[in-house]
Structure formats: C-alpha cells, structure tokens
Symmetry: C2
Subunit: 195 residues, 2 copies
DNA sequence: TGCATATCTGAACAGGCGTTCATTTCAAAG
DNA sequence: CTTTGAAATGAACGCCTGTTCAGATATGCA
C-alpha cells in the first residue's frame, strides 16, 4: 500500500488528520484505535508516529485547530453597526461556520472529557473567548437599551446552545434551505435577546 | 470486598447500575471497562454477568430507563390551560427534570453512537416522542394564534436545545437559584416562540 | 444438622491496545 | 551510479479488553 503518487509525504500528514477526524467523529476517540486510523490512511500503525507524538496530541490538535479557525473566521467577519446588526451577523456566522464543519464540531463537544487536563484548559479557554464575543454583543445591546434580556450571561448560553443545536438535526437537501434556517433562527435569537 | 449487610444481592443489582452510570458519565462508555465497574461495586468482573448479559445492555438499560422516567414524569405533570401556560409548564419541567439527573442526561446525549442499531432505534423513538410533546404545544399555540413562531419544527428544536443546554453550565450554589434560572429561561422560551 | 440454591471468585480465552524500534524501501541529490 | 535520508514496515513490548466457567463460599430452609 502506501504512497501512490508524489511521495515524500507532505501528503500523509494531512491524511492522518483527516482519517482521525472522520473516525473520532463517527465512533469516538476512545473507541478508535491507532491501527484503524492507520488502515484508513493505508499505512501501518507505527508510521503514524512520524506525524504525531501520540494519540492524545492527535485529538488535541484537531480541537485546537478547529477553535482557532473559529476565532479567525469570526475576526474576518464584517461587523454590523448596531448591536442588533451584530447579533444577526453572529447568529448567521455561527450557524454557517458550524454547519460547514459537522465533524470538527461534534468532536469539539463530545471529546472534551478525553483531553488531559492541560489540553482541556487550552480548549476551554478558546471556547470561553468565543462565548465572550456573543456576550459582549448582548452587553452592548443592553447598554444601548436595544435588548431587554433579563440576564446577559444566561442569554449568551441559551443562544449558543440554540444555534449549535442546528448541527444535530440539519441535513443538506432537507425541508429548509440553509438560508431559510439562518433567517428563522436569527428571528428567534433576536426575540430571545429581547430585541 | 462484597456484601457487608443484607446479602442475597437484591442490593448488588442496583449497585452495578449506579456504578456504571457514574463511570459512563465521567469517562464515557468506551473508556470504561467491566473491571472498573466491578471494582467500584466491590466485586470481581465475572460477577457483573449475574446482573447484565453484557456491557452494551447495561448502557442501553440506563438510557431506556432514563427516557421512560422522563415520559412518565411528564405524564404526571399538571397541564396548563392555555398553550402559553403549557409552554411554561414544559419549560420548567424540562429544566428541573434534567438538572436533577445530570449523569443520565449526559449519557443519553453522548453515548447514542455507542448503541447497537436496534437499541439506538428504541432510544431514538423515545426521544422523538418527547420532542413531539413540545411540538404539539407549539402547534396548538399557533392554531390559537397565541404564538407567532415562523416554523414550529425549528422552534421545537431550538427550545429543546436551549433548555437542555442549562445542564452544561448550571452548578448548584452558583450565581442564580434554580427557580430564578427556570424563570429567566421561561421568559426567553416564550419570546422565542413568539408569545 | 444437612441440603439446595444463589452469589461470587479467579483463572483462562482469544484478541486488541498504544507505542517503540531495528530493518527495509525507494526517490532524489551529488 | 552511488550515496543519503526520509518514509514505512512488521514484529515485538507489556498490558488491558469483554466474556465464560469450574469451583469455592455462604446463606435460607427443612
């Protein structure tokens, strides 16, 4: 097996990431063996250790990359003028970004408990920083008296849960288009925030 | 160390359930061995098979029992008069019931993919039946023109995700009392539903 | 007291785990 | 055409897995 073209595996590295991601998302970190990942790549288990120091780091890097991409994608998003605009931009961004990466999202939520403590701390703080982005929008909206949510922290958690929940049921080609879903959720989010 | 009192283990059976629940919730089904469960109970691994035919059935029964209790608790809940009342009763019930059972809830959400197909189908249909309870409230509210949610199915999913999300952050003795959390979420749910 | 029965042990089974490493393979560079 | 060195193999390491079962243990009943 192994190399078919190209060789000098600048190619195998990414393949390992992708195989691990696919398998972790489908069966869970604990249930997937290094030998299964290797088989998916078309390589023997030992060869994986040319690309990762161990299984744990493989998981950690998947999650860390995902959250860093989340942050930089959000940073690149055009901001709205008013808190209301910004809330709408956030809601649509969150749905879009997460629907584009179902495997990464699934792993980031389900495999937290399989991270060693130091790794967990890193991931957790990235996640909190993202939540803080929404919280500051709600906070600004409260100051500007555009929103009337009774508790900003709870509204933050409720809205994130609501938006991320889309990933659990949305299927491409279903009853509603992505854009329609985004629109409807924006509406519910706006009202939940008291706008 | 085994039996301390009582004996004739009408006692060991429940202990096995409880140990499995605790460990599955903390480390995940795949990461927990029968020997760990046995150690927690104070028994050798082989003895577990007096109480369950296998590990999979242990998981399945935990999830099935949880969902059956959810259904019967909801059935026992006093219903409100108007759709608005019923929505409030549902919201408070959902938060209360789930906060009372963090381990069961965690397992029911995280271990779905570790169920064998037939078992998965059973659990999935119980979960759907519960969602249908909320959906019918929203549907009635729509008919009565009390709610103005743009899409009943999406509002159902959004509200369930929002409410279940409380389990991820609520800690006893935190900033807000349970009752205060219930109240605030009721408010957000009502507005999201367009009431 | 002794018998029957439920409970549990401890060893065994066949196989899988993450990880390491001496050895082989093979494309590119000199 | 040889040398170099990265890439991959395949066997081995010690340990853990779910499950079975013959045998030991302890209890409740006659």
């Amino acid at each position: 097996m192994a190399r078919k073209t190209g060789s000098h595996s600048d190619i195998t590295g990414p393949l390992v990431r992708e195989a691990a991601q696919r398998l972790f998302a489908r069966y869970g970190y604990a249930a997937v063996s290094m030998r299964q990942i290797a088989a998916e790549v078309g390589v023997q288990a030992g060869a994986l250790y040319l690309y990762t120091p161990d299984k744990q780091t493989l998981l950690f890097n998947l999650m860390k990359t995902h959250l860093e991409e989340l942050h930089s994608a959000w940073a690149a998003e055009p901001k709205g003028e008013t808190p209301q605009d910004r809330l709408e931009v956030f809601s649509r961004f969150h749905i879009r970004f997460h629907l584009d990466r179902p495997e990464e999202v699934f792993i980031a939520y389900m495999e937290l408990r399989n991270l060693e403590p130091e790794n967990f701390a890193v991931i957790e703080s990235l996640r909190r920083a993202y939540e803080a982005e929404l919280e500051s929008i709600l906070s600004d909206g409260h100051t500007a008296e555009e929103f009337r949510a009774p508790d900003i922290r709870l509204a933050t958690m409720a809205i994130i849960a609501m938006l991320t929940g889309v990933n659990t049921w949305y299927r491409e080609g279903g009853r509603l288009s992505r854009d329609r879903v985004e629109r409807i959720y924006c509406d519910m989010v706006r009202r939940a925030a008291g706008a």
